[in-house]
Amino acid sequence: MLLEATKLGKTYRIGWIRKRTVRVIGEASLFVNAGETVGLVGESGSGKTTLGLLLTGLLRPDEGRVFFRGKDIAGLAPAERKEFRRRVQIIFQHPETAFNPRWKLLRSLAEPYRLHGIPFAPEALLEHLKTVGLYAEHLSRYPSQLSGGELQRAAIARVMVLEPEFVVLDEPTSMLDAITQAQIIRLLLELQERRGVAYLFISHDLELARLFCRRLYRLHEGRLEAL
């Protein structure tokens, strides 16, 4: 088992004058095996993204624990934490906000090399880009000069550079047209076959999730159930 979450809970405190709490997720348990694709479906506002953030350690749960390769991610030593940050990645729904608008694509794509101390090899980067259908000419462009589909592919390349083992895909195609969506899904499957990466595919599109995932979870009113 690659990743396991036990009885996760998250409560948001909202309001400024009239303070309230909303329990978005309660007692959510799930697991993901190495190299498999697991789907997470639910309506908008059901807490799917929150769960994705909890599993990637970008948000701390109020209850429950997340284990990656058997270790609780809340108690990782600095070096282990860095390794976790490399092997667990997330791709967001809105590719246009996932890139610094003031950086050309090259700088955004060189960032993972810098952050994780990987020697930067332009040829290797170009190779990564080619697998997602982007070319050297794209590197000198700003995010605003790329289409949504191109940016989402760039986001996939940026993540794959790190050789992740688990990637949360947070509605990666909901803003894209049918052909671009099919391209992205095929690309993700191809990368999975080649590198054995596991996915948690978050979607509100049950039909697409059924096609893409081996197992499905559904989040409804804060409860997680296996389908």
Partner: protein, 312 residues
Amino acid sequence: MDPVALAVRNLTVEFPGPAGVVRTVDRVSLEIREGERVALVGETGSGKSVLLLAILRLLPVSARISGEVWYRGRDLLRCPPDELRRVRGREVAYIPQGTGGALNPVLTVGSQVAEPLVIHLGLKRQAAFRQATALLARLSIPEAHKRAFEYPHQYSGGMKQRALVAMGVAAEPAVLLADEPTKGVDWARRQEILDLFLGLEGKTILTVTHDLWFAERFAHRVAVMYAAEIVEVAPATAFFKEPRHPYARALLAALPARGLQPLPGYAPEHAAHQEPGCRFRKRCPRASDRCLAAPPLLEENGRWVKCWHHAS
């Protein structure tokens, strides 16, 4: 047949850029009849949204627009600015995408819906706000009398889209231009938005969308755009049963329900549009030597297809 409500003729839009002029809409012609609902589909970057904006001259001043847009005996691309302002919102209204920043975050939704009523119908602010509230209620915003006083961030995505539709229809225009009404909206909400648009009876609607599910249920006719050109125009039922243009076929084959088969390759760069021949030929499974010459948009039994092979 109903009279033509809006006629786009030979419309071309170009943007000057550092790497030369980029032509995002290339000699597009499209007629929409009164009461007709037309969906313009195509992938990102095909120029469909630019086409929609060009109709009402809503593009930045750097855009170079040529061609004609006829509406009730006027060419909207050439009429004086004050006349155009009377048409915009009053006769032909644009409904932007709900997910973007189309609503003003510091004004209440009610006052934004009331604005066209003040501007175009000359209503007093209070009366306009009351009418806006009624309009929001009619578009099934729950507790509209309270929610009209709320700000856009307090609205869900589907409610924002409904508020934008309310703004669009407030001054009772005859023609609506809607940009991606279902983009990023989940399945349950999508049905609501579809019902909402189908409920606008008698309106002439041109919508740009990449949501084929929506297009199939919404439109009388479908127009497909690829690389700045219209490549197929067909009645919706016939189109979804049997698309003719190879690109249109690929578009449908990419749907999850129809196999999720992506088309190999990517849309050509704008610079490549200058090259002679069919723009789709490099990705086309049926490309032949004939495709080195650009095919015309030809009609056959009410269907227009820009492909040498479609008849065979």
